[in-house]
Symmetry: C2
Subunit: 218 residues, 2 copies
């Protein structure tokens, strides 16, 4: 299975690319610039090789990466992701599209959840990508610890979708990553509850001096 | 320190009353009916005695319990709590008031967060109890497991308030209960993020066949 990580050059994109490659998926790093994507893909491959790990990682511009993929992850900041989705609409038709997007604002020291009128980033993305199978996941995975291959964690990842088969496939992808447990969190309308968890995690991190928290349901 | 559990006759009220008494607080079970409260207080005391545990638990109507207390917990359903707070306003003046309240609606199999226009139950309660020191806590603690004294758990409890000293006191109260860890989650405006976590927990419980989930930040 080919997974494109669009914006895979960024913070959460690194961890996703590395760990999905380790899990055995064929990863395509996407970027606005094909050349930057290919560079990053080489970098990530070297990072795996230096640990004696194998992984198939290539790079392409976001449109090409989308077209080549079975599953694409929108690892792009919320302030840009809607426009990006609009422009990739055709390339993503028929594909499973995962959104890890969290619309957040910071007011003084407080992070607040700032969803669009559709109710959540996931629902807005689904309204743009009408021909894709949109699934929401990975919002509560902290980028820095996730990218660090020395890090050990046991995190739960809620997964939401209106497409049950796509949700099942994404749950499998999540569970294939060592240390993550995917949990069915309901339809896409429930994504707002998951997205809202992220500012809470960050607020708690800041105030209790523990960096990069995630969540476990116990 | 005297803690009144208003609506302490109900689901979450039992666990709070038992466990706060075990932690050494003087507990006053509150009810709309003084007689029902005294009955429940006796019942809870017997439950502790049958396990060889000590605890000081008395009962009174909600107004009297509020008046006698240093700290009061509003363990009343969201559909009734605002009116109840209105009528207890005078009795609760100057007190620390804890809200565990979660405004939720169920649409077919999906629980959704249904906050009032103020942004959260906590903010609405603070707007009613202008002379009290409102703190938000306990929203994610599942009543049934919490009331079962055989249950072992390790749960995190986010605590929000605009009153830093009141928040510190409530964090101490939370931490005094075996198995709970209190975490500063920011001002009252952050309570919506905590309240919203509860329908997520319930949705995940239902869909993954694990009863009464709570949360741990890791
Ligand atoms: C990591 C980097 O900070 P940064 O680049 O600002 O990144 C901060 C966050 O964006 C980063 O932690 C993200 O992972 C937060 N984050 C998310 N951030 C997002 O933007 N979007 C997300 O969807 C998201 C999800 C998420 C999930 C879980 C989680 O735990 C964190 C999550 C850094 O090195 N920070 C320094 C300090 C940088 C800094 O801002 N310092 C403050 C002072 C900090 C202080 O008071 O101690 C300042 O300069 O004023 C540090 O933490 O030591
Ligand atoms: C526990 C009792 O169910 P109940 O009285 O309806 O209570 C259900 C919930 O209200 C109860 O679980 C609450 O603790 C849920 N809950 C909260 N409930 C609230 O109303 N408010 C809260 O703030 C709240 C917080 C909370 C936090 C964490 C958490 O894990 C749960 C939380 C029970 O015995 N249920 C039976 C079944 C009852 C039932 O509704 N059955 C369904 C079928 C269920 C199925 O399909 O299996 C039916 O009759 O249609 C069971 O679970 O086996
Ligand atoms: N950071 C976290 O801890 C974390 C955790 C969970 C989820 N998330 C979510 O994941 C997404 C990405 O977050 P991030 O922290 O990884 O972001 P980031 O590092 O700031 O950006 C990711 C990538 O987005 C691309 N990008 C930037 N501006 C763009 C634009 N105008 N149009 C298209 N692409 C653009 C860039 O790639 P190119 O320059 O190569 O095109 C960049 O490398 C966000 O929606 C966030 O909410 C983040
Ligand atoms: N259930 C949970 O798992 C859970 C977990 C965390 C937080 N919470 C929150 O805790 C609060 C209580 O939940 P619960 O499940 O314990 O509720 P509950 O058992 O249904 O009710 C609690 C008590 O509220 C009182 N009450 C009922 N109607 C009232 C009214 N009109 N006016 C004043 N008091 C009234 C009753 O006491 P009297 O008849 O004795 O007056 C009742 O015993 C809710 O806001 C809920 O969101 C619940």
């Amino acid at each position: 299975m080919k997974i494109a990580v669009l914006g895979g050059t960024g913070h959460i994109g690194i961890g996703l690319s590395l760990r999905l490659a380790i899990a055995g998926y064929e990863v395509i790093v996407g970027s606005r610039k094909g050349e930057k994507a290919r560079q990053k893909a080489e970098e990530y491959t070297s990072m795996l090789e230096s640990r004696g790990l194998n992984g198939v990682i290539s790079g392409a511009d976001n449109a090409k990466a989308s077209e080549l993929s079975d599953v694409a992850i929108l690892a792009i900041p919320y302030s840009h992701v809607y426009k990006a989705a609009e422009s990739l609409k055709e390339d993503l038709a028929g594909k499973i599209v995962i959104t890890p997007v969290v619309p957040m604002e910071k007011k003084s020291r407080l992070f607040i959840y700032a969803p669009p009128p559709e109710g959540s980033a996931a629902e807005k993305i689904a309204s743009i990508l009408k021909d894709s199978r949109v699934v929401s996941a990975f919002q509560t995975v902290p980028a820095e610890r996730f990218a660090n291959l020395d890090e050990r964690f046991e995190w739960d990842v809620p997964v939401c979708s209106d497409d049950d088969e796509a949700k099942r496939i994404v749950l499998e992808i999540v569970n294939s990553i060592d240390g993550l447990r995917g949990l069915d969190a309901g339809p896409l309308a429930a994504s707002r509850l998951v997205e809202g968890l992220t500012p809470l995690l960050i607020n708690i991190s800041i105030r209790n001096k523990v960096k990069d928290l995630s969540v476990k349901f116990v």
